[in-house]
């Protein structure tokens, strides 16, 4: 319990610092201020133009009135205070996910709140990335086990030789896959999450979703497969050379049992660390992969926001990204502690 609390606190501090850095970077061009000032001016102008008692003011008078009210409101919000002070207020707002309103974008349900826009895009990202990383994880693990059993075979050598191909990211293979399967052969769609218009029945919807999932998931698999298999296989081989494995073999245990008890078990922490790194890499990789496949997730949201210069959305996604990373790290640390009894003793977590 104490471990969990300490871990949570240290992660929260890390997130806070991460978000604060984000605010500092974003403010370099004074953008966060402009978001706020723009919002104030807009809401005041609207309220004055709606006010029937101010209908017969001249343009100049109205302008002056707006300026006065804006100055008053900026003072009330502390915009005339030094940046250092205000940056902490932004920090508080970002940490409580009070992300403000988008300048140009809107969610499909019409909301302009950045939080709603992001929440709407989260499930597709989780679907794509969950499917990709889970299938990659289990496939590589399974094949790595198989290879460590058939160490030195032709297939083993092939996987080792091909492991440098993992240097290219998933989107890169995605482009090739699109070229082959969508453009030349026409078997699979160019992108998106479902057909347009979306099918009515849930079964058709699911099938259409599946069809659109195939290419991005395969792209992710290709880019992670060889290096992943190579890494796990090396772990397994190192551990299967231990004396106690030899002993178990001498005792006449089946190879399945040896694998389960004496190879998988001690490599588990390493496997989980590897998995953690994949998942962390995934939050970054998603951005481009979604853009290439027009997948309506958070990554594509960032892409669209960059195109529209919609800074509240960009900052909001960065904040969410920091949170997601922290949650990932926390969950994996937690699992790590469950699996590896040595970790539970220390308070600093596996990396200390």
């Amino acid at each position: 319990m104490r471990y969990v609390v300490i871990k949570l606190i240290s992660l929260f501090i890390a997130v806070t610092i991460g978000v604060y850095l984000t605010i500092l970077i974003a403010n370099m061009g004074g953008y966060v201020d402009e978001i706020l000032k723009g919002q104030i001016r807009e809401s005041i102008s609207v309220s004055i133009s709606m006010d029937p008692t101010k209908k017969n003011l001249t343009m100049a008078e109205r302008g002056r009135l707006i300026d006065e009210l804006v100055a008053l409101e900026e003072h009330r919000l502390g915009l005339d205070q030094p940046f250092l002070l205000r940056s902490f207020r932004f920090l508080g707002r970002a940490l409580t996910l009070n992300l403000g309103r988008a300048q140009r974008m809107a969610s499909d349900s019409g909301s302009k709140l950045v939080r709603n826009i992001i929440l709407e895009r989260l499930p597709p990202t989780l679907l794509l990335m969950g499917t990709s990383s889970m299938s990659l994880f289990f496939i590589t693990l399974f094949i790595a086990l198989f290879l460590s059993r058939n160490y030195g075979s032709l297939f083993d050598k092939l996987v080792i030789a091909l492991s440098p191909t993992s240097a290219a990211p998933a989107w890169f293979y995605g482009i090739f896959l699109l070229l082959l399967f969508a453009a030349v052969l026409g078997w699979l769609p160019f992108g998106g999450m479902v057909d347009a218009p979306p099918p009515e029945s849930p079964v058709d919807y699911g099938l259409s979703l599946l069809r659109h999932l195939i290419l991005p998931v395969i792209a992710w698999l290709i880019s992670g497969f060889f290096a992943g298999v190579y890494g796990y296989r090396t772990f397994f081989l190192i551990f299967s050379m231990e004396d106690y494995v030899e002993l178990a073999r001498a005792k006449g245990l089946t190879s399945r049992e040896i694998e389960r008890r004496y190879v998988l078990r001690p490599t588990l922490p390493n496997i989980i660390t590897n998995f953690a790194l994949t998942v962390i890499g995934l939050w970054n990789g998603a951005t481009i992969l979604e853009t290439v496949f027009n997948w309506p997730g958070i990554g594509r949201l960032i892409y669209q926001a960059v195109g529209l210069y919609d800074s509240p959305v960009i900052i909001g996604t960065t904040v969410i990204n920091a949170y997601l990373l922290a949650i990932t790290v926390f969950l994996l640390d937690f699992i790590y502690a469950l699996v590896d009894p040595r970790v539970r003793v220390g308070s600093g977590g596996p990396r200390s």
């Binding site: 240290s10 992660l11 501090i13 890390a14 991460g18 850095l21 984000t22 970077i25 974003a26 370099m28 061009g29 160490y151 030789a161 492991s163 440098p164 191909t165 240097a167 290219a168 990211p169 989107w171 890169f172 482009i175 090739f176 699109l178 070229l179 969508a182 453009a183 160019f190 296989r233 090396t234 081989l237 190192i238 050379m241 790194l277 962390i280 939050w283 970054n284 951005t287 481009i288 853009t291 290439v292 960032i302 892409y303 960059v306 195109g307 210069y309 800074s311 960009i314 900052i315 996604t317 960065t318 990204n321 920091a322 990373l325 922290a326 790290v329 600093g348 977590g349 990396r351 200390s352």
Partner: protein
């Protein structure tokens, strides 16, 4: 020195090192060639240029060598300029009446391709004081038919676009001129009539010293070594110049991040205590920082120059995950007897760190560095794909982005995507293969399995 030689010799035993080395050498050669033949400023000028530089090129066509694999040979661009004596067959000036002169120019060319050109244009430059010449154009096919094209009163600079002439289009019964003018009239489906074509430009001038120069272009369907893009630019320039940019970006980013993280890890291990603890905490925070979103923000708000982005990448990786592996090695080295000896004769901390600790880590550093390069090369391309590519420099990533945003995949313009993608792949593979072999040479533990 001997150790280095031995390592190199050992490296030669790995096919992946040889393959990687060949690829890297090829890319370095390409980079040097690009820098020597096209100076930096010239590359930028060409890449940012518009119609005034690239007007003679066709729009989005594959490279000319693709003809080699095709049965139906696609046309290359034909440019005939009256200022070039080799192109012009004849130019005569006759006075037809008081104050009127007739300038007649004829251009001949052979057309032996199996497909129709992309577009037909005549660019005219007239010299006159008050009244521009009246120009009429005629097209003579190999079988002797004469087709009247359009008439224009030339301004100082005039462009006659065949496809935009409504009257010509009506005369050709609605068939686009670049097809109708080259088609065999006896065939049902449009087929190219091969042979010698002639374009006659007949200009009536109204002043003594008035003159007309004309340039006829039949835009082809293939171009050069690499083809062209949507702005008629020759892709060769971007492919060539993308090489030094990608290599220097990848190398500098990998070098910057790995050397600095290594130094930080060394300092932390050597001083231990609070310093080490602090460095480890910062590393944990750094791992949580969303690198790509931050780079996206830098690109959006601050600058898109890849050198600014490069600085940020190094900054964001100062306390990166590599510190953990460096630290583990340093902890081992710190306990070695020779460090003990150095300490006992009173060597300063900095001397021990940089002269005794750091050199010992090079076997870990070099594979780490080489393995890091592909990631940064692809990171640059990723940013370009998000529309955050450098605004002035031609890079491979920007080519892919251009191709994608102009629908190259949908329109089957595969060369546009494949050329930069293959170069990217080569760069990534070359360094990854080399790094893989280096890893095994320098870390003998890996060699056993």
């Amino acid at each position: 020195m001997n150790a280095l030689k031995r390592s190199l010799k050992e490296l030669a035993n790995y096919p992946s090192a040889i393959g990687g080395g060949i690829i890297i050498l090829f890319l370095v050669f390409l980079a040097v060639y690009a820098i020597v033949t096209i100076p930096y400023s010239e590359a930028i000028r060409l890449w940012r240029g518009g119609e005034e530089i690239w007007g003679d090129n066709p729009r989005i066509v594959p490279p000319a060598w693709t003809n080699f694999f095709r049965r139906a040979k696609q046309p290359e661009t034909i440019v005939l300029d009256s200022r070039d004596p080799a192109d012009l067959i004849s130019k005569t000036v006759t006075e037809i009446s008081e104050g009127m002169w007739d300038v007649v120019m004829t251009f001949d060319f052979d057309y032996n391709y199996d497909a129709f050109p992309q577009e037909l244009n005549v660019f005219m430059n007239a010299t006159f004081v008050e009244k521009g010449p009246f120009v009429s154009m005629f097209w003579i096919t190999p079988d002797g038919r004469e087709i009247r094209l359009g008439e224009v009163t030339a301004k100082r600079s005039e462009t006659y676009r065949f496809a935009q002439d409504e009257r010509l289009l009506r005369r050709l019964k609605g068939v686009e001129p670049q097809i109708a003018l080259f088609a065999d009239p006896d065939k049902e489906t449009p087929t190219v009539l091969k042979g010698k074509y002639q374009l006659r430009i007949d200009a009536v001038t109204f002043e003594e010293n008035a003159d007309l120069e004309a340039k006829f272009i039949a835009y082809g369907k293939v171009h050069g070594l690499a083809g062209t893009d949507h702005r008629r630019r020759d892709l060769t320039i971007a492919l060539l110049w993308g090489t030094p940019i990608a290599l220097s970006f990848g190398l500098l980013a990998a070098l910057g991040t790995s050397v600095i993280t290594m130094a930080i890890a060394a300092i932390g291990v050597w001083f231990g205590g609070v310093v080490d603890e602090l460095i480890q905490r910062i590393t944990q925070i750094n791992i949580l920082l969303p690198t790509l979103p931050i780079l996206i923000m830098v690109g959006t708000f601050q600058s898109r120059s890849i050198w600014v982005i490069l600085g940020w990448i190094i900054l964001l990786n100062l306390f990166g995950g590599a510190i953990i592996s460096f630290r583990a090695v340093f902890l081992q080295i710190k306990e070695s007897p020779y460090i003990e000896a150095a300490r006992s004769y009173g060597a300063s901390s900095w001397r021990i760190i940089f002269l005794y600790l750091v050199p010992r880590i090079i076997p870990v550093l070099i594979p780490n560095l080489v393995n890091g390069i592909p990631a940064f090369v692809f990171l640059e391309a990723s940013l370009a794909l998000l529309g955050l590519g450098d605004p002035v420099l031609p890079t491979w990533g920007k080519l892919i982005d251009d191709a994608r945003s102009n629908g190259a995949l949908y329109n089957a313009q595969y060369f546009w995507v494949m050329e930069p993608a293959i170069l990217l792949m080569l760069a990534g593979l070359g360094f990854a293969m080399m790094g893989f072999a280096l890893d095994r040479v320098f870390n003998p533990r890996l060699r056993e399995v």
